[in-house]
Amino acid sequence: MGYRAKKAVVAASLLALSTAFETVSKRSPEMRAEIARWNDGRAFAMGVLPRGPAITMRNEGGRLRYAGPGYHDPDVKILFKNVDNALLPLTGRIGADIAFVQHRAALHGEVAHGMQTSRALAIVQTYLLPGFILRRTFKRPPRLSARQWFLKAWVMGTLPFGMAVNFAKR
């Protein structure tokens, strides 16, 4: 795959994450509990260095909203050092923890906020990634309850529409 193709896959994966963050923060009690401690307006971004795709998510009243592509005044940034390093975790070949362990991503900002962001990301991935990937990439793969299975189906079902809406936000 050439750079442009990789960049397109990364951009699409980030867009999928952006809408999944929105849906899950609206409907998952675990996610709401995690975000309840964040101050209003707090934002995080994930992106590829130096000028690759990026998204910013912002806490608005206990829910995460997509603030658009690029960096919109985020408090923490999760930065992949190049497009290959972003591709590995975003396509589920390595976990988010391992992306940091393997120096593929760097955190900018307060570490506690970065850890809270990582936990929020893990919750979203629970609903976004198939079981075999979760078993490979999570230290402790989650076991979903009936309610969580239902939400997972909902997240998957609304994904194309959500991605289309967020794609238009630029």
Binding site: V101, H103, A106, E110, V111, M115, K139, R140
Partner: protein
């Protein structure tokens, strides 16, 4: 087995041995520096160690421009600012930290403030945030624990927000680390024991970390062997310079190891204990290390078992944990090193707050086993 991927860095020049301190002015000249700002604290100065530093400048070209000796325990943003001001005010051209982790990390903070010409350290939190050239930086450790003389990390308390800022950057490696046994012989037994257990915790946690690699493993094993052989001697007979030099090397090796493999759940909890209850870093590690090893036994059983013989026990997880417990018990008898969090001054009501802070510590990422709030609380209850 070679990991799928790893990185390793240790650009620090190591000078270790008897009368090593005498090389300080020469090393400064190699770095193009002639006027040092010495960063230290009251305890170190009170032990007569700054007199030793003054003495080695006799007949040398370089000079000490000023001495800052107000470093607080656990470093602080105010001290960092004061160091940067003193550096500019006295027209110094290099930083020389003489002390334990608190002095070294304060100097690292000043390194950033001076390079960026900005007093706001908060803007540099996280990893690899700044890349401006720094001034020459030499470290003379006076504890044998943190290994900060050869790490890329600094932990500094922000007095305004009362939080601990973690900063990592390859620019924070000192240019030179000078290990001279005369600089650690004055350490009292309980600080010797606690800082030594900090070094052991670095070595063991790095060896079990998700980021472990062949280089860090080698440094961890070398560190552990030295600690098991010499820590008790240092506590029993502080003046034993051979043992002191061995422990200085052990702490350095453990520092090199964890700077490249990171640490885990024990440090996450120990940092939180420090933040919430202000108990000394090494004491918290000493109490929590066996519990952390037990917690990780499921995921890092092979690594822990392999450490058994290095710790002087059989090649099993229980052997490794037993060896650490035995060492701690002997240190307890010798100098009263606590074996429980309760004995270290932690109250049961504080465990909830400690667990909350611990799961937000970056070390959790590198721990082989997941660490949730409930997990953290469970370990703390065991250790109380």
């Amino acid at each position: 087995m070679i990991p799928e991927y790893y990185e390793f860095a240790c650009p620090t020049k190591i000078i270790s041995g008897f009368k090593a301190l005498s090389n300080l002015p020469y090393e400064m000249s190699l770095l193009g520096a002639a006027r040092a700002l010495v960063v230290t604290d009251q305890g170190v100065a009170g032990a007569g160690l700054i007199k030793r530093v003054h003495a080695v400048f006799e007949g040398a070209d370089g000079v000490i421009g000023a001495v800052y000796d107000e470093t607080p325990v656990d470093s602080g943003s105010e001290a960092v600012r004061a160091v940067a001001d003193a550096y500019r005010g006295h027209e110094c051209d290099c930083l020389v930290a003489v002390g334990g982790g608190s002095c070294i990390d304060t100097a690292k903070g000043a390194l950033i403030v001076l390079a960026e010409d900005s007093a706001d350290l908060k803007a540099y939190q996280g990893a690899e945030r700044f890349n401006k050239p720094t001034c020459p930086f030499i470290v003379v450790p006076t504890t044998a624990g943190t290994g900060s003389e050869a790490t890329l990390a600094a932990v500094i308390r922000d007095e305004a927000t009362r939080t601990k800022m973690a900063l990592t950057s390859y620019r924070l490696f000192p240019d030179v680390a000078i290990l001279d046994p005369k600089m650690t012989v004055t350490m009292p037994p309980h600080i010797t024991a606690a800082t030594g257990m900090d070094a052991l915790t670095h070595a063991v946690e790095a060896y079990c970390s998700l980021q472990k690699n062949p280089m860090s493993d080698a440094f961890s094993q070398a560190a552990i062997r030295l600690i098991m052989r010499h820590l008790i001697d240092c506590v029993r007979n502080g003046g034993d310079e051979q043992a002191r030099l061995a422990m200085a090397n052990a702490a350095l090796f453990a520092g090199i190891s964890f700077s490249n493999a990171m640490i885990g759940v024990v440090h996450a909890l120990a940092h939180a204990c420090g933040g919430v209850c202000r108990i000394p870093h090494g004491v918290a590690n000493a109490v929590l290390l066996p519990w952390g090893m037990e917690y990780n036994a499921g995921k890092a059983g092979d690594a822990l078992a392999a450490l058994g013989p290095v710790l002087g026990a059989d090649a099993t997880v229980t052997g490794a944990i037993g060896a650490v417990r035995d060492l701690r018990a002997r240190l307890g008898e010798l100098c009263g090193l606590p074996e429980t969090l309760g004995a270290a001054g932690v109250e049961a009501e504080q465990l909830d707050a400690i667990a909350r802070v611990a799961i937000d510590d970056g070390s959790v990422t590198y721990n082989p086993e997941d660490v949730t709030y409930d997990d953290a609380l469970g370990i703390l209850k065991n250790a109380l």
